[in-house]
Each structure stands twice: as C-alpha cells, then as structure tokens.
C-alpha cells in the first residue's frame, strides 16, 4: 500500500492504495467520480480520457502513483453541479410568485461549450464514450482553436464510438470551436 494525494478537479484527494491501482480506478473508486468510464482497460477505447496536468491521457494507462502530487481534470470538472433555480417544477399557476431553489443538478446553461455543442448537435447516443470524447476535444480545441473537420477527426481517432458514426461528434467539435472562439473574442 502507498499513500498518494492527487488533486481531482481542484480538490486534493488522499488515500492509501494498492500500488496496482490505476488512475482510472483512483478517480472512480477513491474520488468517487464515475463519469470517467472503463470501456476496455487497454488504452484503446478512450472512454477514460482525462486531463493530467493539462495533457490528455487515458487514465487506464496511468498508475495512480504516477499521478501523485499532480492535478487531474475529469468530466465532472467541466460543469460543476450547483444549486440553481429549478424551472421544471414551477407550475404555471405559481410561476410568477416564487422561484424555488430546490433542485440540485446540471443545467444546459452551465455546460462547457464542448458539452453544449454535443447536446445541440446530438453528438451522443448511449453516452458511454461521451465523457472521453468531450475531454479529448476540450483538450484539443485549447491547442487548436481553428480546426478543420479532418483535424477534429484526427483528434478523436483514439476514442471509439459505436453509436454515432462520428459525424455528429465532428459537427459538435466544429460548433464548440466556434463557440470557444466567440468566448475568447468577447
């Protein structure tokens, strides 16, 4: 056993772990963040992609001890859940009178531009590959804010998707790039 501390989405997480523990397992089982998915455990499917000190890695291919003292960003780090006014519960008859603050959850308005683009372009079906795809694209678009469609294809070539045929994911990558450029200009 070995004691490691890894900063996950800005929060230090410390634990005594088996030396064999993968970064993926640390994220899922120790930090309790299950948005990073285990699809193959052989660094092929990309469902476990996260950022490690700003670089995209497949977290099944990194030992947790290799990440000790370093900083990891997972899908949960892109759009922190927070308290916000719920709209669905607001009945028509009472809507004008009060704004209940009772729903904990994500909202479309809180999404990272890559996530928002996935939603808009229907770039996910079953959603299992999605966190890895989003992380890979988020990381890539930071490096290349003006990608071509072929650039996007190459950027996600290490991430498998069995549902979408990739078309809408590439659409979403282009849409996100545009939104990110607009944000940067603003």
């Amino acid at each position: 056993m070995v004691n490691v501390t890894i900063t996950v989405n800005g929060q230090p997480v410390a634990a005594d772990i088996d030396e064999r523990t993968l970064l993926l397992e640390f994220i899922r089982d120790v930090a309790g963040l299950t948005g990073t998915h285990n699809g193959c455990l052989e660094a092929r499917c990309g469902c476990c992609s996260v950022e490690l000190d700003g670089a995209i890695v497949k977290s099944c291919n990194v030992l947790a001890v290799q990440a000790a003292g370093r900083s990891v960003t997972t899908i949960e780090g892109l759009s922190p859940q927070r308290l916000h006014p719920a709209e669905h519960i607001t009945t028509g008859s009472l809507a004008g009178m009060y704004q209940p603050l009772d729903m904990l959850g994500a909202d479309a308005a809180d999404l990272h531009p890559v996530q928002a683009a996935f939603h808009k372009c229907h770039a996910l079906q079953c959603g299992f590959c999605t966190p890895g795809m989003v992380m890979a694209l988020k990381n890539y678009l930071a490096e290349n804010p003006e990608p071509t469609r072929d650039d996007i294809r190459a950027a996600i070539a290490g991430n498998l998707c069995r549902c979408t045929g990739y078309q809408h994911i590439i659409d979403a990558g282009m849409e996100a790039a545009e939104q990110l450029r607009a944000q940067a200009d603003a």
């Binding site: 088996d18 899922r28 963040l33 299950t34 948005g35 990073t36 998915h37 285990n38 699809g39 193959c40 455990l41 052989e42 499917c45 469902c47 997972t74 899908i75 949960e76 759009s79 859940q81 709209e87 669905h88 519960i89 607001t90 009945t91 028509g92 008859s93 809507a95 004008g96 959850g105 994500a106 479309a108 999404l111 996530q115 996935f118 939603h119 229907h122 996910l124 079906q125 079953c126 959603g127 299992f128 999605t130 966190p131 469609r149 996007i152 294809r153 190459a154 996600i156 070539a157 290490g158 991430n159 498998l160 998707c161 069995r162 549902c163 045929g165 990739y166 078309q167 809408h168 994911i169």
Partner: protein, 837 residues
C-alpha cells in the same frame, strides 16, 4: 377557476408547437454529458463484494476436474463456485427454436468446454483484485478435444458431437435445427430463366462491442427473499423470467432494474451466465455482488453476429426481372445461441425485400461450432443476406448487360396500391423504396460517374428493407406497453420496460405525450425500467421503439387525455367535445388563454375526489399495451413477421489504393423511408450509426479464430472497430417518408435500416473499382493486394476473392457445391404442404 398565466422568461425557451417531427434536444443528454449518469459499473451498494469469472482458455475439452480448494483460502475470498456445485440446483436455459426451448445453457461448463471463454468457475471476494488473484489459484484438468471452427467441417458426417446429451427435434449431429423456405415453383423458374447467376458467399462474425461492458449487480435480501438485479440489459423481463426459472424462485421475487445502458446493438438482448452467477453468490452470501465483465471476456463470450455460407442462385428473365432465388445456407450459431437460430429465419424472410420474388427455395442448416455464441446484432441476419443477394443482382445485371441501377429499378416493389402482400408474405403498407433508390444513386453521381469512370474508383448500390418489430418464430408476441401518470403537480411520468440505451426513448416518448396531452415537454420524465413498476413489455430490439413502444405510448396518452377531459368537462360544466388541451391547460376551444391547469385536475383526481364526475375512478393513470397485427412464420417459411417495413437505398463510392490495398469509402449516400419521423436528428444519428456498423462489417471487424478455436483478436487492439478517420462525411442522408398505414402515428423502425445495405453497397463498389468480386467478409487491404496481384498475374478482367485464389480449398464452381445436407422429407412433404394440411 380560469386563470391568466404569467410565465417567467425561461419558459419561453421550452419547445413549442407540435413536437413530433421536431429535432427536440434530448432529455437524456445532461446526465450523460456531465458524468452523473450511472452505468452498471457505477452501481455501489452497501456491503457489496466483487465477483470474477474463470473462463476456459481452450475451445473444446472434456472437464476432468475443477479444483477450487486453494482458491477458497486466498485472501479476501468469500465464495467460489464451479459447474459441479450447481448440477441439479439450477435449471438450464437455452436456445430458442420454433416453439421450442433447448436447455443447453448453464452458468458454468460441467462436463465439456464448448468454446474459448466459456465459464468454468467464479470467485466472490472483498475486492476485485482479490477475486482476480483467487482465480489464478483454481486448478483445471481439461482433456483437450479437436475444435470445430468451420461450420462446414462441423456438419461432416464423421464430425464429433459438440453438444452431447441433447437430442434436437429437427437436428442431426452438430446441425441443431433446420430452416426451410418454399415459395412458388423454383424448378420452373430456373427452367424458364434467361439468366441464372450462382455464387458461394460467406460472411464474418462481428461483435456488438458496445463500449459499456456487460455486467450486473445482484442483491438478495435473505429476509424478504427478494432478489434485486441491476443489469445492463436490453430486456428486463427476459432477464427476470429466465433468471427466476433458472433459480426456481417466484418471478415476483425477482426485481430487475436497469441503470444507464451504454448501447447493446442486440448483444444485450438476452440473459447471460454472469447474471445467474452473481445472483447465486448473492443468495449464498447475503451480500450484494458486483460482476462486470472485462473487454476480453465480452469478446469471447458475448454474442457475435452469426456467420453464414450461402450457396446462392438468382434467376432472371431477359428484361432483368428477378424470377427466382435459391440457396443452401450453413448458418453458424457458435457453441450455443439463444437468438442465433432466429437470425436465419428473420434475416432471410425480411431480407428478400425490397423484391417480390415469386419463386424461392432456401434450405438452411443451423450449426454448432466451438466458437463464441452467435446472436442478435444490428440488422439481425439482414446484412448477411443483403451482402449475398445484392451482389447477385449486380452479377445478373452484368450478365444481362443492364445497368445495376436500372436492374434494381425494375425489381424494387412499387405496387399500385397498398397494402401489398409479397409472395414471401410480407404486407407492405407503404414504401418509397423506388424513390430512395434513385435518390441515393443521384446523390452519389451514378450516371455521371458511370459515363466517366476513374481508375480504382467505383460505385456500388444496395437496397434493403428492414423489419420494424418482429414476431419471432419462437415467440407468438410482439408487444410493448406504456403506463402514464399525470402527477398532482402537472408533471407526467412514463413507465416502460423497453430499455432506452441510446435510442432517446425519454425524448421520443415525451414528444408523443406532450403533443397528446398538451403538457410541457420539460415536465415529462421517463422512469427507469424496473420490473416492479414497469408494465410488461418485450424489450428494446428489432427497431421496435418508435413504432411499437411509440404506439403504446400514443394509446396511453389518448386514454389519459380522455380522463383529463372528462374531469375538466365536469368542473367547467362544459361538453368534453368543446374542450381542448394545450400549454398545460384544458380550455374551451377558441379561448386558449383561459382554462384549468392540468395540475389542478390531477389534484382533484387524487385529493379532492368529491369534485370528480359521478362514477369516475380516481387518480390519473392510463396504461396501454400494443401488440402488432403480425403473423407467425408459416410452415413454408412465409409470413408477415413485421408490422411495417422501413426502406433503405445506399450508394457507395470507394477508392482503392493498388499499392497498399487500402479501401476507403470516400462518399456515401443513404436514402431512407422511416415513415413519420418523431425526432429527425435522432433518426439521422441512427442511420449514421447503422452505417458505421455496416462499414465495420465489410471492412475489418471479424472474429479471427485459429484452427484450435482460439479467438486471436479479443481486444480493441486487434479487433478493427472503425475509428473517426475510417468514416466518410455522412451528410448525404435523405428521408423520403411514406407513413406506415398500420401504425397509428405512421412511424417505421429506424435503428437497423442503416446497416443492412452497407456491406453489399461497398462490395459492389469494390468490384466496380477493381474487377475483384469479394465473396467473403470482411474485405481487408491484405486480401485486396493478394487479389489484385493474382488477377494481374493471370491477366483476368474480373476475379473472385477468395474463390479464384490458388490456395482456395472450397468449392469453386456450382457443380462442386455440396448438396444441402437435409433429411429427404423430415416426415413432411414440403413441396405440397398445402395439400397435406
């Protein structure tokens, strides 16, 4: 009680107007995008322990002993199970045939190992690592036997039996069932044909390879004796009922709950041994047991597309009209297969479309080999059959000197009136397949390119029609159900047991309910499938969602609407016919700003029952079950198995690099008839995903076995799932809708129609580009290079791969083909069965 609504600004962003037909953004997305969605591997229950399975590393062997004593003593180990422990304690389950269920599936191999990856033992331990470590302490004594990988070897008269101790009603040796199809008079068609093309084709084994692993968490409560199973399945009741039967416990004591399921493509549409194993561990330990499979295990023991060898013949008159089809099929189901048998029946029946072929004879042998179980996979036998038939169509067109487009245009069904019954028995209630054919050909530039061919570039066409729901030969049912509850705050909960795992049921059903009930889209929620609360339904498969589940939802919505209107009419002292629903309110027609909110009406029905109309049964629930008006397969193999049929016409442009053999699909056009589309963006996504699976099937995905039955590519490292750079831009997608006349809303199935034509369209394009006719799947660059070199060496204009290769050992020409291995009459005069009946 009329009120003037005041709506805050955010409410103006809700989808407005009639939602069916709009690309409403999906309800499913937020949890999936932000990582809060819970898949099976994310389920964690108090006291949960972990189980792992020891799988056979050989394909065929007699089991002398499985010694688990040492494993029991390993750190953290709580329990160990092997086959001998369960004999006489759990009931086998099994293969489904016509009216027949064969008990050939057990949680572990007992006497014999039948395929690599079959379960031999399992360990439950405190941690995953402890369970894995303990597996290594299990000692196996196996007597290896020769393995049958090739189904044509397995059916030779001197082949050893794979499945021993099971007597099959129609089987013989490793042939465990037979398929027969008889339409018209095939001998007469052959005698009168102007052209007959004959070719042996074979297909590959493709994995669903859904990225979310198969798995379950089983939790047995020893006080209530209830078994709760969280399972990553497509069908909760199939798992529940079989599991209860296997364990011999009451069905109402088994609860199956489905977390988020990361796709299935048919590969999760049945029960698996791991669900039984985890349940038994939990029952023995009284603790929740987590059992999620690894990728290698899923490749080895999940189900894969059934491979086929078809000795196929297509007959035409001199105008190119198809007059007959005959084949002898060897259908490989692997060592055992719940659904594999049905794949041949349904794929052949529906695969005859979009042609109304008047004379058909198919004889099929359904065969066991020492390979992974066959099963359902997107297309369910249709991609295999279309690969054969649509290449024969091109071959016939060449022989007759016809353009492949013209040949198809002369044959696709284009009846003067609907419904139209084909000789095969399908009832076509509407179709635009003829228009789809021309649309896809035009989009790929068929005529222009044919006039100006480019070296090593080619075009190919293929057309198919796909079932929308299916009355399986072993099931006389094709139903789905929806229960709706209008909650007392005006929101609506939808209960269904048909698992959404990528198909956007939560969105699609909410669109139907929102339109029918006038309730806001954002107020509608789809409850998670749970056998305790969900109405009985068969599950999500066979592209049934939009049409069958959608119809159940429409019927339930109409019933709930009647209840709402009845209460409103009573309260408003109005005639129900004068009322309308919209914007979460019931109002008098013509006065949309007035009215009663749905939450008020629902509250009356629950909390103020005195204000209900006399005799009105309180609460606001409605349930509807829709069973399709389909037919069972007849004794001659004909019948209308599907409620309606969606059409697909595909056109491929491929480019072959003669230096490397690399084949690229550089352009692709898809024209579809999916009837009334509920959510166009979702349906477009289905077609693109369907294409991807077809592309994988034709250009790389396969189970590669060595002669000893070892699966040599049970990893995404070696299994060639297409990546983003393998796929062309998929923008040439066209919907030419012909609303179904049978389904009240006009929908047709979308999920699988994108897959069927892809292998054949690409195969035809490859022939057009190179003159090489590939008769086996997949087509790899290595094979392409070998074929091009051999073709050049012999100076041939056209060439068949692998048939014309020097090393090919199979039958090259029709005179060498095997006779169908069939008993003469099976006690039945198939050619005159009507007289006999």
């Amino acid at each position: 009680m009329t009120q003037t609504p005041h709506r805050p600004a955010e409410h103006t962003t809700r989808p407005r107007g009639r939602l069916v037909g709009q690309s409403v953004p999906r309800k499913e997305d937020l949890a999936l995008l932000t990582g809060t969605a819970r898949f099976i591997d994310d389920i964690k229950l108090p006291g949960m322990v972990y189980a792992k399975i020891l799988r056979s590393e050989v394909a065929h062997a007699r089991i002398r002993s499985v010694e688990v004593a040492a494993a029991r003593k390993m750190p953290g180990v709580l329990d160990v199970l092997c086959g001998a422990d369960l004999v006489g304690k759990v009931k086998p389950w099994g293969d489904m045939m016509q009216d027949l269920l064969v008990g050939d599936h057990t949680p572990f191999a007992v006497d014999k190992v039948l395929y690599e990856g079959q379960e031999l033992a399992a360990v439950a331990a405190q941690t995953k690592y402890q369970a894995l470590d303990a597996l290594e302490a299990i000692e196996l004594d196996l007597e290896e036997l020769p393995a049958y990988v090739d189904p044509e070897e397995a059916i030779k008269p001197d082949a050893a039996l794979i499945q021993e101790g099971i007597t099959y009603e129609f089987g013989d040796g490793n042939i465990f069932d037979r398929y027969k199809l008889r339409v018209g008079d095939i001998e007469a068609a052959e005698a009168e044909a102007a052209a007959v093309v004959r070719q042996r084709f074979s297909t590959n084994r493709q994995a669903g390879a859904a990225l979310d692993p198969h798995g379950c968490v089983a939790s047995f409560d020893s006080f209530t004796r209830e078994l709760t199973v969280y399972s990553s399945t497509q069908s909760i009741y199939m798992v529940r009922d079989v599991l209860a039967d296997v364990l011999q416990i009451p069905r109402n004591k088994v609860r199956v709950i489905v977390p988020e399921v990361g796709a299935g493509f048919g590969s999760k549409a049945q029960i698996f041994p791991y669900e039984v194993i985890a349940s038994i561990f939990s029952m023995r330990l009284g603790r929740p047991v987590h059992l999620v499979l690894g990728r290698k295990e899923i490749f080895q023991s999940g189900t894969a597309r059934n491979s086929q060898i078809r000795y196929a013949e297509l007959m035409c008159d001199r105008d190119g009209h198809i007059t007959g089809y005959r084949d002898y099929t060897v259908h490989n189901c692997g060592a055992m297969s719940v659904w594999g048998n049905q794949v041949l029946h349904i794929g052949t029946n529906v695969g005859m479309l979009p042609y109304a072929i008047p004379n058909i004879r198919v004889d099929g042998n359904i065969v066991h080999t020492n390979t992974a179980p066959g099963g359902a996979l997107r297309g369910f036998g249709i991609p295999q059959f279309i690969w054969v038939k649509e290449q024969l169509v091109d071959m016939a067109a060449a022989e007759l000197g016809l353009d492949p487009l013209e040949m198809r245009a002369r044959n696709v069904i284009r009846p003067e009136s609907f419904p139209f019954r084909t000789p095969m028995g399908q009832v076509i209630d509407s179709t635009t397949v003829y228009d789809c054919l021309h649309k896809s050909a035009a989009a790929i530039g068929w005529t222009e390119t044919k006039a100006n061919p480019v070296p090593y570039e080619g075009l190919g066409l293929a057309v198919s029609m796909k079932y929308t729901s299916c009355r399986h030969p072993s099931f006389d049912t094709d139903l789905s159900a929806v229960r709706l509850r209008l909650e007392t705050d005006g929101t609506v909960t939808i209960y269904s047991s048909d698992v959404t795992h990528g198909q956007a049921h939560a969105t699609m059903l909410a669109q139907i309910v929102a339109d029918g009930l006038g309730v806001g889209f954002e107020k509608i929620t789809l409850a998670r499938p749970d056998s305790v609360t969900s109405p009985f339904g068969l599950g999500t498969y066979a592209s049934r969602g939009a049409a069958v589940l959608g119809t159940a939802c429409r019927l339930a919505t109409e019933r709930l609407r009647e209840k709402v209107l009845a209460i409103a009419a009573h309260v408003l002292e109005a005639n129900a016919d004068d009322l309308d629903i919209g914007d979460d309110r019931v109002f008098v027609k013509g006065l949309p700003d007035s009215g009663l909110y749905l939450e008020i009406l629902a509250s009356l029905a629950a909390y103020r029952t005195h204000q209900l109309p006399p005799g009105f049964e309180p609460t606001m629930e409605a349930i509807a079950t829709y069973d399709t008006p389909t037919e069972r397969e007849g004794p001659d193999g004909t019948g209308n198995l599907s409620v309606t049929y969606s059409a697909a016409a595909h056109a491929a442009r491929v480019r072959v690099d003669p230096g490397t053999g690399l084949i690229r699909v550089v352009d692709y056009a898809m024209a579809h008839d999916t009837g009334v589309v509920i959510n166009p963006l979702v349906v477009e996504g289905q077609h693109q995903g369907g294409f991807l699976m077809g592309l994988g099937m034709v250009l790389g995905e396969d189970y590669v076995y060595d002669d000893e039955g070892h699966l040599t590519n049970a990893s995404f490292k070696d299994y060639l799932a297409p990546t983003s750079t393998d796929v062309p831009e998929l923008t040439k997608i066209y919907e030419l809708p012909a609303p179904s006349l049978t389904i009240p809303g006009g929908q047709k199935g979308a999920g699988e129609s994108g897959t069927g034509p892809v292998p054949a369209a690409v195969g035809n394009a490859v022939f057009d580009a190179t003159g090489v006719r590939f008769t086996s799947l997949p087509i790899t660059p290595q094979q392409m290079l070998l074929a091009l070199r051999e073709k050049d060496r012999r100076g041939l204009a056209t060439f068949r791969y692998p048939d014309d290769m020097p090393g090919f050992t199979g039958p090259r020409e029709p005179q060498d083909w095997p006779e169908p291995l069939l008993p003469d009459d099976m006690g039945f005069d198939w050619d005159n069965f009507e007289d006999e009946l």
